[in-house]
Amino acid sequence: MQERVDEVKPKEAVSEIPKKPDKLLAFPHLVFKEFIALMLVSLVLIIISMVLNAPLEEVATPTKTPNPAKAPWYFVGLQEMLVYFDPWIAGVMIPILIIVGLMAIPFVDKNIKGVGIYCFRERKFAFVIFTIGIVVWFGLIIFGCFFRGPSWLLYLPWESWDIHKPVISKGTYILPLYIGVPSVMGYYALGMWLPTLFARNFFRALSPAKYFVTMFFVLSMFGFIGKIPLRFIFDIKYVIHTPWFSI
């Protein structure tokens, strides 16, 4: 009987009925998946905890400084930044800028496309900038964890820490103020100005305030990253050097 009723229905009405329901009951569809995930995580965790022992070194001795003294891995990226910046930037300003910058993302991103799917094409700019940030962050962590030895010098993972290593970038050059200040200001000014000429759609899509905030964080991020080759290749210690602070 049911089939006959279906046959009588006009084609349009049939097409209105969605083939798949958009939503499913949380029990059992979601809850069971969660349960399986938790069981798997528990299993992995129990096996790791049986096989690998948490590190425990000698008792803390304030008079005996280990060389190198490395921070926990999630802070090694910041520690690595200490090579390129003074502590007030590497240890204070960069973390604050990262946190504030992350929080600013939803308020400056006016692009409403690409919600609920992994989609690169509809939000290339956001994708690229965020990915660069994450890759550099983890790159610094990996570099600091595996390629840094005594005195935070460059050691390859398989090299013994006993051999003596020369300092590669001593940081001999300090740019004079009349070069350093204009070049930093020029970097930000050009960075703010050029997209208004060459990426007009991007500029027009944002309000002036949102454009300024977005570009400030993007330029700062590339500025921080850019200091790494400046130090490594050109041996520049400070771009701006004053008696009170140095960048």
């Binding site: 003294a69 926990p72 991103d109």
Partner: protein, 254 residues
């Protein structure tokens, strides 16, 4: 035999004790499945229905849920570890050795606490990436993204404060390196640009409770690690989960 079992099960699920716990019947009908979600404290965090797109493992990779689960593992193993650990310079390291050699499953407990902590830092970061790449921070979910960023910071702080507690060389010097950064805070740090405060009253001093890392630091980090930060995390996690529901459930294509 099977009939007997069925009768036994039937009897059990109709006893007053069973019915006082589980209000709804066996969840084999749509009605009872809905009631299971509504009536169970743990399940009521879930919506009744979930987008099919959000159900795919490839979409979420279960990262948020795993983060929360690891937080629960941390709480349970952490409470058990607290029975054996005294946050003083005299006993802290000794208690670590006791955990390793004298306490039954002590080493296993500590291993689990340590690896779950590392795992949690990693899953929280990956969860943030997942949310970013699926555009799940976009309106109306801006506020929840910010709560998530604060939760990431709290996770890092929880892990960092726990790092000092074993009171071994690794702990001591990693935390020395970490807290030294606070000295460089502009204005508020003793060695930062435009500093106005002395070594005895700057940011680093308030973090450590002394000029160098000492018993005060150990106690501070212990209290932060076991009480202040977990409480803050629980409050923010509640807001985080509640907001996911209020903002229309897990993100999905429009």
């Amino acid at each position: 035999m099977i009939n007997g079992l069925k009768r036994l099960v039937n009897w059990i699920i109709h006893t007053q004790i069973w019915l006082s716990i589980f209000r709804q019947g066996w969840p084999n009908t749509e009605r009872n499945r809905i009631l299971t979600i509504l009536n169970t404290c743990l399940f009521h965090l879930h919506p009744l229905k979930v987008r099919t797109s959000g159900l795919k493992v490839k979409y979420t990779f279960c990262l948020g849920g795993i983060s929360m689960f690891l937080f629960i593992v941390e709480t349970i193993t952490g409470v058990l570890l607290m029975f054996y650990y005294r946050p003083t310079v005299e006993y802290a390291y000794q208690d670590m050795k006791d955990l390793e050699f004298a306490v039954t499953f002590g080493l296993f407990l500590r291993n689990m606490h340590r690896w779950a902590a590392h795992g949690m830092v990693l899953t929280v970061i990956l969860h943030m990436c997942r949310v970013f790449y699926t555009g799940a921070y976009k309106p109306p979910r801006e506020y929840n993204w910010c709560v998530g960023v604060v939760l990431l910071v709290l996770t890092l702080l929880l892990s960092f404060t726990g790092y000092l507690l074993p009171w071994d060389q690794l702990a001591f010097w990693a935390v020395t390196v970490g807290t030294n950064m606070a000295k460089a805070t502009p204005i508020m740090g003793a060695e930062g640009p435009f500093h106005i405060l002395s070594e005895m009253s700057d940011m680093c001093f308030y973090l450590r409770g002394s000029v160098n890392i000492s018993e005060n630091t150990l106690l501070r980090f212990y209290v932060l690690h076991c009480i202040a930060l977990p409480l803050a995390a629980v409050v923010l996690m509640s807001i985080h989960f509640w907001r996911v529901r209020k903002d229309g459930g897990i993100s999905g294509p429009l």
